[in-house]
Symmetry: C2
Subunit: 168 residues, 2 copies
């Protein structure tokens, strides 16, 4: 079982968008450059975040992405589901209906004990992620870094972000 | 994110081994036939369960697999880890160290907020599975089936299981 790498990238991208000044945006290319990840793959994650309504794509010469709502209202569960999709990680193949003693389909309306337990575990996984917001992620990153790093990020944003109504 | 199909098969195999009379065994081939799944792949899951110490492989003409301990002492977490391995589903690639504002390695001794949150979610997933035993799975399957099915399973076991000291 593996979480798609795109989840990690999307979460980091959201954390960077969260520290932009109000109304500023970053292109998928700039987000890829900041995180040093392949631009095409970063673009794919940004589209997934956009489809899920977590980021907004602003069009035009000074366009790019910004968060669709405050960082405290976007959880890691939101980001996970945006990239991974909502399908459960346990894909029940109804093994109980197979073979010489297979159960009749009519007796299998409810998930079996195995499938139900994995669905419950997935709910626990998602609930845990639901308790962490992008704001929390930014706060923990800030706590772990120093003023020098904060200044570096601010300078990078100044040079790479776009403001509505301006041309870079 | 997908749970390996082998986890489902291994869990079902454990549930069947749990209803064998004491000392009886089932071969990987018989387990595959019962669940109508590919024999080579079922054999692979049984080897994983054996390596993890959840089942014992009894050698000889009347050999096969039996549970290594009571079904109430084997959890779905045990089965999951036996087949999937212990590596976390979130594989942190230390994105925070990348790019023009990347953090120094020395500042990254602890996992970042994103990785830490996914590790916590994985713990919640595993803890949830740890609360369900193979005995629970058998009990829920028994509750959902009827006497006719129980008789069918008993007959199938009589014809397909091996007893130490006997030849089939």
């Amino acid at each position: 079982m593996k979480v798609n790498k795109g989840v990690e990238w999307a979460a980091h991208a959201c954390a960077l968008l969260a520290v932009l000044p109000e109304g500023w945006t970053l292109s998928a290319e700039a987000l890829a450059a900041y995180h040093d990840v392949p631009p095409a793959y970063m673009a794919k994650q940004m589209q997934a975040l956009s489809s899920a309504g977590l980021v907004v794509s602003v069009r035009g010469a000074a366009g790019g992405y910004r968060l669709a709502r405050p960082a405290r209202d976007i959880s890691l569960k939101d980001v996970f589901l945006a990239v991974e999709g909502a399908a459960p990680s346990f894909r029940c193949t109804e093994v109980r209906q197979n073979g010489p003693c297979g159960a009749a389909k009519a007796q299998c309306r409810k998930p079996c004990g195995i499938a139900a337990s994995f669905y419950a575990a997935e709910t626990a996984f998602r609930d845990s992620l639901a308790g962490v917001t992008i704001m929390d992620v930014v706060a923990s990153a800030s706590a772990a870094s120093d003023l020098g790093k904060a200044a570096k990020i601010a300078t990078w944003i100044q040079s790479n972000a776009s403001r509505p109504g301006t041309e870079r």
